[in-house]
Subunit: 337 residues, 2 copies
């Protein structure tokens, strides 16, 4: 058991998942009824059937909030993760990869029941990713898994919207949000996926209005939340609800809304677009790392944009390039020793 430092920059709660990345043609998606660019939940039988039909894969630790947390730790932030794996080979891989970034991860692996979660990620020739997730052991995350001492130590608690798909995880999520708020920390949420928003719109709206300090969403997610076709309309609504809203727009960069102020952040184009997996997670990492270092919203946005710009030039959701070196090279004014 690692001792939790008195203060962590970010604590994240999310699904603990190992990704299986496969290059895929779009006709494979349509013949398997998959909606390109989104995340679908599958049961074990569907997962096995899809896996059998897929091409050769590459495995890498994933999970949306876990990807963000790993990148924060690699940037130099003090970071802790809460999520559930089983005591199997994929669970060991997940735990190793997270701890190897310097992050704390002490949620005990479960000894029985479903295996560690897997996400099959089909990467199309245009670099868009389509995900099918078997939640396995992760779906049973419940309030007892939440290390409240770790949560209390966080300046920012980061939560992924995907957790909302499981009732006990949702309760764990709410308990943690209350805990951090009542100890002076802030709550940050990623909306995760437009279909996920669609499944849980009312409770996400309540959360965004009353509990979330820093929101992350892309265009599809924020327009889904406010049930509007118009991005501008969604912008004007979310502005009223969160202190900071970071809206990512793929190759158009991002907007950071802070009250009536809008910070426009340019994208970083660091190479050929290979795989968009982890772009949003990496953006949130750069932003939250900067935020907990006390940087301005523009600087936080630039860090987010840089991390996202890097991860889309490679396969997989976690940068193969050391993020500290990336910052030193591209944003030297923001790099710390």
């Amino acid at each position: 058991m690692t001792t939790t430092p008195s203060t962590l920059d970010v604590v994240a709660i999310g699904n603990a998942i190992v990704d299986v990345l496969v290059q895929s043609q779009d006709d494979f998606l349509s013949s398997h009824g998959l909606a390109k660019g989104t995340m679908a939940l599958v049961d074990q039988e569907q997962a096995e059937s899809l896996y059998s039909a897929m091409g050769p894969g590459v495995e890498t630790s994933g999970g949306s909030a876990a990807n963000t947390l790993a990148a924060i730790a690699q940037l130099g932030g003090k970071a802790g993760f809460i999520g559930r794996v089983r005591n199997d080979q994929l669970g060991s891989i997940f735990a190793h990869d997270l701890r190897a970034t310097g992050a704390l991860f002490d949620t005990p692996p479960v000894e029985s029941g479903p295996s560690t979660a897997r996400c099959m990620i089909l990467v199309s020739p245009d670099a868009e990713r389509t995900m099918c997730t078997y939640l396995g052991a992760s779906v049973n995350l419940d309030p007892r898994d939440v290390d409240l001492a770790m949560v209390r130590s966080a300046r920012v608690l980061y939560l992924e919207g995907y957790l909302w798909d499981a009732e006990p995880a949702k309760r764990a999520f709410l308990a943690a949000a209350e805990e951090v708020s009542s100890h002076g920390g802030e709550v940050s949420l990623s909306l995760s996926d437009p279909f996920c928003v669609d499944r849980h719109r009312d409770s996400f709206l309540e959360l965004v209005r009353n509990h979330v300090d820093i929101l992350f969403a892309n265009e599809a997610e924020i327009t889904s939340l406010y049930e509007t076709q118009s991005f501008e309309e969604a912008v004007s609504q979310v502005r009223q609800h969160c202190r900071l809203a970071c809206l990512t727009r793929s190759d158009k960069g991002s907007l950071i809304l802070q009250g009536e102020t809008t910070h426009v952040i340019e994208p970083f184009k660091l190479g050929q677009l290979v795989d968009t997996t982890g772009a949003g997670d990496s953006y949130a990492a750069g932003f939250l790392y900067g935020y907990t270092q006390g940087l301005s919203p523009e600087a936080c946005g630039q860090l987010g944009s840089l991390c996202a710009g890097q991860v889309v030039t490679q396969m997989g959701p976690r940068s193969q390039v050391p993020l500290k070196e990336l910052v030193a090279q591209h944003l030297p004014d923001l790099a710390k020793a």
Copy 2:
């Protein structure tokens, strides 16, 4: 159980391994007593200790002969593999990735005992790879695992020298070599690693002199085999022993020795050098695919050189680019519909 076609182009016997690729600095190698560029065998305890100390990894199916076989299948060859996994998550990944190339793989997974083999591959900033292998279930491959019907159906039986590190695997290897020879097939061997050659020099020499039709080796391996500092001296010796010897020389390309004739094959430089893992395996794949299609030694060498040139521009031992498309693009005269 898949029905074995009446003729397979290549059947390979090798260790069934899942690779864990980690980017690493050279001081990590020296502080863990690892010889850069080579393969060391580790026991379970050493494997776990090294894994704990390593950075975040990426998992991909590996195994030297299995990499070659997977690439032959992707090139369009009819291919079958014999090797041992356990019935665990990594074993399922290994089997999936091989079958997804179109290769046959029917060796039954073992139900108990050590887990599926893992190879920790530390990739240095200069792209050289250093490997630590925990052989696990693979080490117990024995003659009963060898599907002799599959072996008999092979035009070429391909064997990796690494198998020599386990006595029952060595017996399996020899039984298969005799079977294929007595049915008119040919025997091909990769020397695998200079330290492996050093451990088994006498029996490799006997094998090369009396049983091997097509030999693959790099400079370090062939000079180790003949205990000479001089590559030229090794060339003049091996020329007497095998009908075809393919000697790879990293960025200097390769030589194909055929009796007194020497074919000089230029390297393909397809991008920045990222990771040399799988370079030799990919060369053997291109060569053997061409060979079983009836191409000339030069054409076979060019195919080998192209596949190796591709795999070193990415992390991991199996090409992320479809190999058929690669051949169509770079060697259109050798591409088949």
